[in-house]
């Protein structure tokens, strides 16, 4: 099992340019093919984004409309709950003061309150970043210990940690449900954080061990000679060196915990429910409110795209290690 990681080591210098440079023509063809794929694959995403700015009737028009008059109705619907009123009631109302009031009233409806979306989004932030932080923090400690010290049964422990990743979460979902019910962890953010941390930690340990293995031991030894304790050396020398690895690991942990759905629907119902368990079920009048679903999807994608771009340099440099997600 341990040998899985072998090809992944020793590739830190990934950005060395190929000496056997492909010809100009072949590079252009390659670029064209890649761009075609990227464009085709992005159509659905583009369509999602676009749908967020359509009216509900444009969103289900036949044939589909590409250029619709832009509307913020999807976003307004995402953040509010509304109720339909009789024309008499509508005329009796004082004039609308805000643009979103006006928009809703033009549909013969009034805003009856905020929706649950902001709460669910906040839960996603807490659970997603909380568990990512914990997984990386615990992972970096364990990875350091496995990398530097002669831990007894090291290979067995590492194998044990990796094997937990192979376990289908469904195999443990039932007892976790029972356990959380007994401990009162159902529908709490803490419950989800612990669970996602446990799912991510094997990945974090393995990824980070690869990175820490790459950091020359001489650095720490020099620090130790200078009078640092082992902890100080870890803190002041190893951690800064492992920054790239930590960033790449964090992205992969975040992708999982940000998007997880199965456990979220089983273990949360309201207070701690995360956005992926909420977005698929945004109902308007009649069917799914597609513009609101699209708006929610677009907003939900933002943080992770932002985080990825922010750490992109690390991600692309750490691509070789990052590759072992899951």
């Amino acid at each position: 099992m341990t040998t899985i990681a072998v090809p992944l080591r020793g590739v830190a210098a990934a950005d060395v340019h190929s000496v056997v440079t492909p010809s100009r023509l072949s590079r252009r063809l390659a670029a064209a093919a890649v761009i075609v794929y990227a464009v085709v694959a992005t159509i659905p995403l583009f369509w999602i984004f676009l749908t967020g700015f359509k009216t509900p009737s444009d969103a289900i028009a036949y044939p589909p409309v590409l250029i619709a008059e832009p509307s913020l109705e999807g976003y307004v619907n995402l953040f509010t709950t509304r109720s339909r009123q009789t024309p008499e009631y509508m005329t009796a109302l004082p004039p609308a003061t805000t643009w979103y009031d006006k928009l809703v009233r033009s549909r013969n409806m009034v805003i009856s309150g905020p929706s649950n979306f902001p709460g669910r989004f906040a839960n996603s932030l807490i659970v997603g970043f909380g568990s990512t932080f914990l997984a990386v923090a615990l992972g970096v400690l364990a990875a350091y210990a496995f990398s530097r010290f002669n831990v007894p049964l090291k290979d067995d422990l590492l194998f044990f940690i990796l094997s937990t990743r192979m376990m289908p979460p469904i195999a443990v979902a039932i007892p976790i449900f029972l356990m959380y019910r007994t401990l009162g962890l159902s529908d709490t953010a803490l419950g989800l954080i612990l669970l996602y941390t446990a799912v991510n930690i094997s990945l974090a340990v393995w990824l980070l061990k690869g990175f820490i293995d790459e950091i020359p031991r001489e650095y720490e030894e020099a620090a130790l000679v200078d009078g640092y304790t082992r902890l100080q050396a870890f803190w002041k020398v190893v951690l800064p060196q492992a920054r790239t690895g930590i960033a790449a690991t964090a992205i992969f942990c975040l992708i999982f915990s940000w998007n997880e759905y199965a456990f979220a629907i089983l273990l949360t119902s309201g207070e701690a429910q995360t956005a992926p368990a909420f977005i698929p079920y945004i109902i308007g009048e009649g069917g799914l409110d597609w513009p609101a679903v699209a708006a929610g999807t677009s907003l939900f994608l933002l943080p992770i795209v932002f985080f990825t771009i922010l750490l992109r340099r690390h991600l692309l440099r750490g691509i070789t290690f990052g590759a072992v997600r899951k």
Binding site: Y37, L141, L178, Q232, I246, V305
Partner: protein, 313 residues
């Protein structure tokens, strides 16, 4: 990010400027660093797994906590293994896993080869291509349902622009639905395979190609005798990870088809979820979960053995 966590990690020792031989011993630090991880995994993975095994020999139902608990021995297991419908679900799952991974490998490896030619803007396009895998599979499922709408869906519209075949329902027809889930999964996870392959390609030292150049090996030969063998361990690793993931696939497909039409896209995990959390047959579904786990674990172990053999060649 690299600031030390104050909560969650057991580091009670304040860091002071003590001489090297003071402070904690290396052994103590090692255990201090490893223990939290092990404890967490024991609590949230191993203990529940053992509990699942125990439950799988009972008739327990989580929605009837007061009903008498009975040990039923291997009854749950024999019932599952003798049920031809369970085998159908496994076939459906196998079809999904095999085709989605096949397509992802072909497309992902191809894209990685192209990107590795390093054209202007390649890292930008790489990032763009990565976008689908950052989405939540559940949300992807819901949204593709929208794209697949027979009347208003943009997928059917675009297909009709290319080949005018008229109205069809990707998710409603028995012959199309299994391919619809393959298509969506391929769309979502090809970038992942591409990423790993790219890692493999970039790990090949240039000196090998230079040597081949000197030997006057043609591009075809270089590809088969250097690129493919060097990337193979990475590709096989990607296949392993994707296969494990797709074997447990739930969120994407359940939101796309809910297993329909009929049961044509009901993957094993969807059945398991229904048995466990809709029918609440806890004992029965625990046995099912164990069977699935053993299948994945067994297949993965065999696969890893093969993988190591490939690598050591």
């Amino acid at each position: 990010m690299s600031r030390f966590p104050r909560s969650g990690a057991p580091i009670p020792v304040p860091i002071t400027a003590a001489p090297a031989h003071r402070g904690l011993s290396d052994r103590a630090i090692a255990w201090l660093f490893i223990t939290p991880t092990i404890l967490l995994l024991l609590a949230i993975n191993i203990f529940p797994l053992l509990w699942t095994i125990q439950l799988s020999f009972t008739n327990y139902r989580a929605n009837r906590p007061n009903a008498p608990l009975r040990w039923v021995g291997l009854e749950n297991y024999t019932y599952i293994l003798e049920d031809f419908e369970v085998w159908e679900r496994l076939q459906t799952t196998a079809h999904f896993v095999a085709w989605s991974i096949g397509l992802e490998v072909v497309l992902g490896f191809g894209l990685a080869l192209l990107i590795n030619r390093r054209f202007r803007g390649d890292s930008f396009w790489t990032t763009v291509i990565l976008l689908p895998m950052m989405l939540s599979p559940a949300v992807v499922g819901v949204f593709w349902k929208y794209l697949f709408e027979p009347q208003s869906g943009v997928f059917n519209y675009l297909v009709n622009l290319v080949v005018p075949i008229g109205s069809f329902s990707m998710l409603g027809e028995v012959n199309l639905a299994p391919w619809a889930i393959v298509l969506v999964d391929t769309w979502m996870w090809t970038p992942y395979v591409m990423l790993i392959c790219l890692a493999g390609l970039r790990s090949i030292p240039d000196s090998i190609y230079e040597a081949a150049e000197i030997d006057r090996a043609g591009p075809w030969r270089r590809f088969w005798s250097i690129t493919v063998p060097m990337v193979m361990p990475f590709l096989l690793l990607a296949v392993l990870f994707r296969a494990i993931e797709n074997f447990k696939m739930f969120d994407l497909v359940v939101n796309l088809t809910s297993g329909g039409p009929g049961s044509t896209t009901e993957l094993a995990s969807i059945t398991l979820k229904r048995e466990a959390f809709e029918k609440w047959k806890t004992g029965y579904s625990s046995a099912f979960a164990i069977i699935l786990f053993v299948t994945v674990f067994g297949a993965a172990t065999v696969y890893v053995k093969l993988l190591n053999r490939v690598k050591n060649r």
